[in-house]
């Protein structure tokens, strides 16, 4: 499923000059056919050849049988955002083959199962029919395995046709099947068979090629969810409670794997972490809050529907001031929505979640580095500010493979916030759980089980005074929620600050999270193709610091780019700084697909034309 487009990366005719290390490969298969390993093998081999690469898995909410597409983009300039156009299409799914072929731009290469008989569909693309089904019968005597092994045949054919080094395919496969030597041999043989067939039977070669370069040295390939799990591990998480939900499950599942290796106490043999699969999201967040109240570094990972269920507890966390880290790997809503597609659709929902006046710190990771580092920021902030902190990832970041620098070992100690132990409680003068002693709105808490007879207090979601006593006094209520408001706004100075690139231009772009990848490429397109220079501010956290105001005020026109229908971040900037609202224009993308650069640059050009 590529999106029909009139703007291919290069509009050269068939058989024109070779295009090296600038291509998108799309594999169209059937869900549950085991093609993921084959596709990751192609991706990893290109990565090992030193070429910047990304993979986007477009899969259905289904176990087996529905169409799925995997797109690999290799780009020498390091552009790894999704590209709408497909250069090399591998058609393995009869259900979608005709439409897949119709959608590729002129000049594309189509490798397909011979039996699909696609070659007559168009005369402006290169067809490479391959007898995959026939070949697999020769390679794989076990009938039941053929469905899986056929994928490795296309790996071999594609490797030969576009120049992926066979040694790197072997390396990638060896990694994938490190614990299954039998399967490895079978898959290696299948790749060889595909490769040899292509060598012997195909004379011409597509103009799209890959060649070894050195732009991935030292880098890793990892999904954002795994990066977040690693971040949580190093952030000292001690309790994770969760309920399975796409696309967040692999956060906790990765944490379970990591904990089994790195959290078993060498002295006692005990688990230095509790991971509980709860009966639903209500229970998951309840456990997180109960554990955090008793002093654990607690988290859950979920997606939009889970946040909807957690909302009552999130209000309790805010008002009773109990820390919680919620990783929200966003998917396309509302309701069940498109469970396997991406969106920044919970931006507004999380920032002001739950009934009554609330405001929650949110972190917006844009890449693997931040998926990892912001997990640590989230735990520190949750305990420092004694409140729920959202780590706002999305399906694109969480479930796709991204190229990244290795994780940096954390430099900072854990921030456990203002906790009074027995000595601290003994020294405190007239301690009250909700008293603002330091003028920053952050009170001191104590943990259950602290001896000395001075720390006990009653946590409640009902009205309470500075000493945690029940009250329905309007003045006490107002003073309390004003203090909480000051406390939360204070987090703006501590949370990751916006990153600004460029200054002095009339046009400013604001974006956040996974839009970043496409924005960088779009700005280059605007500069090179349209002569439009832009400055760019990337929001990394809510509540907003003043630098966002400064950026908006310094630009004549500001476009807020986001992946939702309503321009939720634009609304939030407008709500928090109402005087700036008229200056903001939305550029929105909400097809459930990751944002691509062309969508942004075309929108800017069009809006600029309208404006001038």
């Amino acid at each position: 499923m590529s999106e029909p487009s009139t703007a291919p990366e290069s509009a050269a005719p068939v058989h024109a000059e070779p295009i090296v290390n600038r291509l998108s490969i799309q594999v169209a298969t059937v869900n549950g056919s085991g093609s993921q390993t084959a596709n990751n093998t192609l991706l990893r081999a290109i990565f090992q050849m030193g070429i910047p690469v990304s993979g986007k898995n477009l899969f259905p909410s289904n176990i087996a049988g529905l169409p799925t597409w995997f797109t690999i983009r290799a780009n020498a300039d390091g552009y790894t955002a999704r590209r709408k156009e497909v250069d090399v299409l591998i058609c393995m799914n009869a259900q979608t083959a005709k439409q897949d072929v119709a959608d590729v731009p002129a000049g594309a290469t189509v490798i397909h199962e011979e039996g699909l008989k696609l070659s007559d569909l168009r005369d402006d693309v290169d067809f490479y029919p391959v007898p995959f089904q026939k070949m697999v019968r020769d390679v794989c005597p076990v009938v039941a395995l053929r469905r899986l092994v056929v994928n490795m045949l296309y790996v071999g054919v594609v490797a030969e046709l576009i120049g992926i080094e066979i040694e790197e395919i072997d390396n990638a496969l060896t990694k994938a099947f490190s614990t299954k030597p039998k399967a490895l041999d079978l898959n290696l043989a299948a790749v060889r068979a595909g490769l040899t067939w292509a060598q012997e039977n195909i004379t011409g070669r597509p103009r799209f090629r890959v060649e070894r370069m050195d732009k991935t040295t030292g880098k890793v390939l990892v999904e954002g969810n795994k990066a977040t799990a690693i971040g949580c591990l190093f952030a000292g998480v001690t309790l994770a409670a969760w309920y399975p939900i796409t696309p967040s499950s692999s956060v906790t599942e990765s944490l379970i794997d990591l904990a089994a290796k790195y959290r078993i106490d060498p002295e006692t043999g005990k688990q230095n972490i509790a991971i509980v699969q709860a009966e639903d999201e209500l229970a998951a967040i309840g456990m997180v809050i109960g554990a955090a109240w008793a002093g654990a570094r607690s988290m859950t990972a979920t997606s939009g529907p889970g946040i909807s269920l957690m909302s009552e507890f999130i209000g309790l966390s805010y008002y009773a001031e109990v820390p919680a880290v919620i990783v929200n790997v966003q998917r396309t809503g509302p309701s069940t929505g498109l469970p396997t597609r991406t969106m920044q659709g919970d931006t507004l929902f999380c920032a002001y979640n739950s009934h009554g006046d609330t405001r929650h710190p949110c972190l917006y990771p844009a890449n693997i580095k931040e998926a990892y580092e912001f997990a640590q920021v989230a735990f520190d902030a949750a305990e420092r500010f004694q409140t729920t902190v959202f780590l706002m990832s999305d399906l694109d970041l969480g479930m796709n493979l991204w190229m990244a620098d290795p994780f940096e070992y954390p430099q900072k100690e854990l921030d456990r916030g203002k906790v009074l132990d027995e000595k601290g409680l003994a020294e405190a003068v007239d301690w009250g759980r909700y008293k603002d002693v330091d003028g920053d709105g952050i009170p001191y808490r104590s943990l259950p089980g602290t001896p000395g007879g001075k720390g006990a207090f009653f946590t409640r979601g009902s009205g309470h005074d500075e000493y945690a006593q029940y009250t329905e006094s309007g003045d006490a209520y107002a003073a309390n929620v004003d203090r909480i408001q000051r406390k939360i706004q204070g987090s703006a100075d501590v949370l990751p600050q916006p990153i600004v690139d460029g200054t002095g231009n009339a046009v400013g772009l604001i974006a956040f999270g996974t839009s970043d990848d496409a924005i960088g490429e779009a700005r280059d397109q605007l500069r090179v193709e349209d002569g439009i220079e832009t400055d760019y501010l990337r929001i990394r956290a809510f509540p907003f610091p003043d630098s966002i105001r400064d950026f908006v005020e310094a630009h004549e026109r500001v476009y807020v780019v986001e992946q939702n229908r309503d321009g939720q971040m634009r609304m939030m900037i407008g709500m928090e700084m109402p005087d700036l609202a008229p200056q903001l224009t939305s550029i929105k993308h909400y097809t459930g697909m990751p944002l691509d650069a062309r969508t942004v640059s075309e929108a800017v050009v069009s809006l600029e034309k309208k404006g001038s």
Partner: protein
């Protein structure tokens, strides 16, 4: 000089176990339970600061404010106390957890969490202060109201009651009892045994609502309760520090508790029930309310063999907040190992 105040075996007076003044209606059954809790924790010599008092929402859920002022309390979300208690118990397994719920909080909005709490065997004394009505919202039926029971305004309950004891036993709970707030003597013994049990204890305590469900036609009123209570045995508890090895030379059945001491039951004139017999417990509960509307009280089922959730999860003895950073954050070498696996 007056006499020194009476103290328990850790040297604390009963005063140290008291809480704030109750704001419930005068005569509320819940206040009797509150006072019995105070007595039980005092007599058992539990350190108050090691107690976590948890609750959901409702009249019953307010009561943790009325006992053990030196313990940490958490009045959480309607029907969700089990999850909060589970989290707290995992975070610090040294805490003695007591959760107070009501029939609405447990049998309606909280049924899902109740079920899973019973499955997990979280160390928690879970008390349902069961009066068959929603008090704070002025007297609607709850899901434990008996079929045919009448509200003050004449409305008759047409739905069968949920039997929480039967559910708890079937779901794997290892300590299941039913009592009546007017039978303070029995409740106190059951509570003391529960403190020594160490897993989930489900105590369904009929606790009349004097304002909305204490009238003629109610099956949760004081009068109805007094007229119909049928104790299935006499229950007692012998603390560990008193008699480490219990050897009764009579017809009592004693079951040692993991936390020390033994709970015992003794046949009554016309009835007997061995709480170790799960099938007998379920059979007994199935016949509850059948003969002359008698409702059974006593220790329905006890099985101290089951592992607690924390043991099952291999949790450390120390609270999780106390783990030093080097036990939480893997070394640089381990980070290199993780990074290498991603290349």
């Amino acid at each position: 000089m007056g006499a020194a105040p009476k103290t328990n075996h850790i040297g604390l007076s009963v005063q140290e176990y008291k809480g704030g003044v109750s704001t419930l209606c005068k005569g509320c059954g819940h206040d009797v339970i509150t006072n019995t809790i105070i007595s039980a924790f005092y007599e058992m010599g539990v350190e108050p600061h090691m107690v976590a008092k948890l609750s959901g929402i409702g009249c019953s859920s307010k009561t943790p404010a009325y006992f053990l002022n030196q313990a940490w309390g958490f009045n959480s979300v309607h029907g969700r106390m089990p999850a909060v208690a589970t989290g707290a118990a995992l975070a610090n397994r040294k805490l003695v957890n007591i959760g107070i719920s009501g029939d609405g909080d447990t049998a309606s909005i909280g049924m899902g969490q109740f079920v899973h709490l019973m499955r997990r065997n979280v160390p928690l004394i879970y008390i349902v202060e069961n009066n068959g009505v929603y008090g704070l919202t002025k007297g609607q039926f709850s899901a434990t109201a008996d079929e045919g029971a009448k509200l003050k305004n004449g409305t008759v309950n047409d739905l069968p009651a949920i039997d929480l004891c039967t559910m708890a036993i079937e779901l794997g709970c290892g300590f299941v009892a039913r009592s009546f707030s007017a039978d303070r003597k029995q409740l106190l013994q059951i509570l003391k045994a529960a403190i020594a049990f160490g897993g989930t204890c489900m105590l369904d305590v009929m606790s009349p609502c004097v304002t909305f469900n204490n009238h003629e036609g109610s099956t949760k009123s004081y009068d109805w309760g007094r007229d119909h209570e049928g104790p299935i045995h006499e229950v007692g508890f012998v603390p560990g520090w008193d008699t480490p090895n219990v050897d009764f030379n009579d017809d009592r059945v004693a079951v040692p508790m993991p936390g020390g001491g033994s709970v015992w039951v003794k046949p009554l004139e016309n009835t007997n029930h061995d709480p170790r017999d799960k099938a007998a417990a379920l059979k007994l509960l199935a016949s509850d309310h059948q003969n002359d509307d008698e409702f059974f009280t006593g220790l329905m089922y006890v099985n101290p063999e089951r592992e607690s959730l924390q043991d099952d999860m291999d949790m450390p003895a120390d609270p999780l907040w106390n783990l030093p950073i080097d036990k939480l954050r893997p070394s640089r070498d381990k980070m290199d190992e993780i990074v290498e696996s991603l290349r």
